[in-house]
Structure formats: C-alpha cells, structure tokens
Symmetry: C2
DNA sequence: TCGGGACCTATGGTCTGACCATACTGTGGT
DNA sequence: ACCACAGTATGGTCAGACCATAGGTCCCGA
C-alpha cells in the first residue's frame, strides 16, 4: 500500500509557504518589503526564531535580502538573485563530491554552445562591445587573477546571448565554481596566447553570425581549458541519482519542501 | 577609490564556513554525521540559534538533512540532494517573475537535446527499459496527473542519458517547476495521442542511436507541449541581470556567502 | 532464557525574553 | 538653514526553558 509517514510540517516551513502564497496572491514584486520579523511572528502566531529560519531559507534561495536599521531599505526586501544561490549550491556539492568538475565544465560547454547557436536576433552592438572590451582587458591583464576576471566577463556575455536569464544565472554560478581551477590553469599554462587566440576566434564567429563556427570554437577552447572534457569517463561517484545519494529514503519525489 | 563596506559577517555565516571547511579538510562524505546543535554551538562559541540558521541554510541547499530522536540516523547528516534545492529555487523565482516559464521550458529543451546528442556509449539496456516502462504506464494512465507522472519519468531518463548528474538534477527541478502547467496542458489537450506519438518517436530514435532524429523529435514534442517556445519573444522582465535585479548594489560579485 | 513494557536520554523543534548594533527620524538648539 | 543629539524600529544574537521524537536500557514476568 502507499503508506506514507505523516511528515509533520515544521513551523518555519509554514512560514515559507505563507510568504510564498502572499507573493503569488498579493502580486508582490522585487523591491517590495515584507513585514518585520516581530510583526510577522505575531501575525503568524509563531516564535520569532521560526520566522528568522524561514527568512534565512528565502535569503539562501536568493529571493529576499535583509537589512538592519531603519528607513525604506531596512527589513526583508524581495530580490531576485538566483545566481548567488546557484553558486552556493554548486560550490557545496562539488565540495561534497556530489558533483564533479567534469560535470560542471560540461554543463558550461552546453550552455555556451546553445547560446551562440540560438543567438539569432539577440546579438546586440552592446554585447559585441562588451566582448571586445573583455578581450582588450584580458590582453592587458597583469596576473592570472585579473585575466580570469575578464575571461569570466567574456563568457558570461556569451551566455547572455541566449536571451535566457536562467542560463545566464547558471553560467554565472558555473564560472564562480571553476574560478579557482581557472586561475590555476592560467598560471600553469603561463603563456596565454592560445587562450587569447581561442577567444578572438569565438568573437569573430559571433560577430559574423556564424553560429556553427562559434560553437566549434567554444568547444575547442573549453576542451583546451578543461582537459577532462576530452574523454568522457563515466561519472561514477557518490551521488547516483539526481537526489538522495545513497539514502534509501522511501519516496524520492521531485519536489521537496514545497 | 575601491572603498568597500566593512560587511561584518554574521555568526551563522561563520558557522557555515567552518562546516564547509570541515567537509573539505576532514574529507567528510555523504552519510557522515555532524555534531549535535548544542555541541556545535558550544565548540564554535555561538548561540544555538546561529547554529540552527546555518544548518537551515545547508539543508536548503541540499547538503544536510536533520532528524530528531536518537540513534545512528539522528542529528544532522550530510546528504546530496541538489535537485530538491534547485526545484525550490526555480519555483520561487518563477513565482516572483524573476524567471519565466519560457526560460524554464527552453532550458529543458536544451538539456534533453544535449543528452540525446551526447548519449553515445551511455545508453544502457536499463535506460531503454525505463523508457519503455514509462511509455507503457503513460498509455495506461487514467488521469492527467498520472500521465504527467510517467511523462516525467520518461524525460528524466532522457536527461540521465547525458551521464551528467548536474543536468539530471536540473532536469528534475525543471520538471517539478512545470508540473502544474503540464497537468493543465494534458487536461486541455484531452486526447494524448499526439503526445504519445511524439514519445514513441523519441524512443525509437534513441534506441536506434539516431541522435539527430532524437533531437528533432524532442524539439517537436516540446514545442507542441509549450507553444511559448515557438516565437522567441524577448524575455523582458524584472530581473535584468543574472543577479541583483534592480538593486544598484555596489559589487555584483559572482559569489555570495562563500 | 526470552519477551515486552516502562523509563531514560540525546536529539531536533519551538517559544520567550532580553540585549546589542545599526541606521533612519524627529527635535531642538545655534 | 544647519547641525547635534535623542528616539526608535529594524535585524542579529544569546540564554534558557520546554516539547516531541525515537532509539537505548533496564527490569520484571513468563
């Protein structure tokens, strides 16, 4: 039979659900303020600590930001920072070996190739300006750190060509995750001429609207930067399923706290 | 000048950082237990509430799970549930209009096409069995809910063909996000014959190893399911950048709480 | 010897109240 | 008009208490 544990909901989960409902029903938008923690606790008949835990969750997911003090900017304000949340998530799961660098790099390759292939009509002079500016700064970079900083700007701009904010945010997080690796790789390669040639080739292909050439250039570039991508070894690791690695939990439902 | 606000770190952020450091340095793996909340608070010289907020963040990101009571399973245990975290993130940001359904559906298209194109060597008999089983159950489904459930299994299996756990977890979350939409779409279409034909075409292409045909079949199928995908309207919305929509914060760094 | 029930206890979950740090707001003096 | 100071609302933190949960322990009876 389909018996399920009763699964009492914790107080802070209720608070999250009610805040989420308010967002949907009251049409709250980014920039709107939530009531203060004490007021929210009183209205929801829970302790302030439960409210705080709920807000902490929402802050972690990048939908609220808290600010102490008084005035129009104080309190819990609705925001939209998915990239920060994604970056935290990736960093922790890579640290736990729940995700591998190869998987992260591969995802990055997928997004950038998709972006250039589906950039038709999305490539603006502004994008090309940003790409050129990043190239110029990479040329002038005096350290690996600085080089990687502008390299990130270059690749993030490519992701934005997709016109898809989810992909751009994911790209942001992926970059942050490989940041340390990238700096070490640049320091190891020392001479960055091949990398710069790759970048220029990518830029030329995008500027001329040659999607397939751009995709190929990106593939070559990322394969050079992440040698792991060359041979697709099996990703055997701790996490075997999208969720609940190892734990033989009963219902492995797609949704969680919702 | 490059002046920056001092940005005092909050106590719970320190707790997170120290737990993260322990994971890296002590080589903790999924299944290992963390000290109890009271013990952790005493060792870190912070209040128990700060420890709890830190654990709440880690739980939200899908790296720990807490269990009350006694015994080997009680306490905070390291886990690997990225999909649950991603699902929460997407649901909230879609609710806030920080992300649109079009962007979610488009990302799904990208992943599934990538998966079938890069499935070479990853397609196992087990995968094909799962796909066939899902097809059979979809055929026998008595309600839209049930149909969508097995449809999800079908598409998640496709994502797993990529051999990339990050993509599989993301796919899981994307499916959960469009769940409601999908059920309504199936109820609206009523007759699910076209959808079933799509699925069978996808299966045949995968089984015969025809990557391009499979990608085309997926494109046709998802375009039918999400008419929004047809004309790529501009994604103008509240969130203009991958992060910090509207808020003119000083440093828009890729990383956040790290 | 074995089974079972009552009790023990470690763990997370929650609430209350207090205090601090922060930063705007208002007020009064110059 | 300006400025300094007190007021106050806000989040951040801590301490302590109590409840709920659930495995462990011990003792008694069969």
């Amino acid at each position: 039979m389909g018996w399920e544990p009763v699964r009492r909901t914790r107080a802070f989960e209720d608070v999250i659900a009610q805040i989420e409902r308010r967002i949907a029903e009251d049409g709250l938008v980014v920039g709107d303020r939530l009531p203060g923690e004490r007021q929210l606790a009183e209205q929801l008949r829970v302790g302030r600590s439960s409210v705080r835990e709920a807000l902490r969750v929402l802050e972690t997911l990048g939908v609220v930001a808290s600010q102490a003090g008084r005035g129009p900017d104080a309190g819990a304000v609705l925001t939209a920072r998915p990239a920060a949340a994604l970056a935290d998530l990736l960093r922790l799961h890579v640290g736990l070996s729940s995700l591998s660098m190869r998987e992260v790099a591969e995802t990055r390759m997928m997004i950038e190739q998709w972006a250039v292939r589906h950039a038709a009509g999305n490539v603006t002079p502004g994008h090309l300006d940003r790409l050129r500016a990043a190239l110029a700064r990479m040329d002038r970079a005096g350290s690996a750190d600085e080089f990687v900083l502008h390299d990130a700007e270059f690749h993030l701009t490519i992701a934005e060509l997709s016109g898809n904010r989810l992909l751009a945010a994911t790209m942001h997080a992926l970059r942050a995750t490989v940041q340390r690796h990238a700096v070490e790789a640049v320091e190891r390669l020392g001479v960055t001429d091949p990398l710069m040639d790759d970048h220029r080739r990518i830029y030329e292909a995008i500027a001329s609207g040659d999607a397939e050439e751009a995709a190929a250039a990106i593939a070559d570039h990322l394969t050079r930067a992440y040698p792991d991508l060359r041979d697709p070894a099996d990703p055997t690791g701790p996490a075997d399923a999208p969720d609940s690695a190892g734990t033989p939990g009963p219902a492995d439902a797609p949704d969680s706290a919702g």
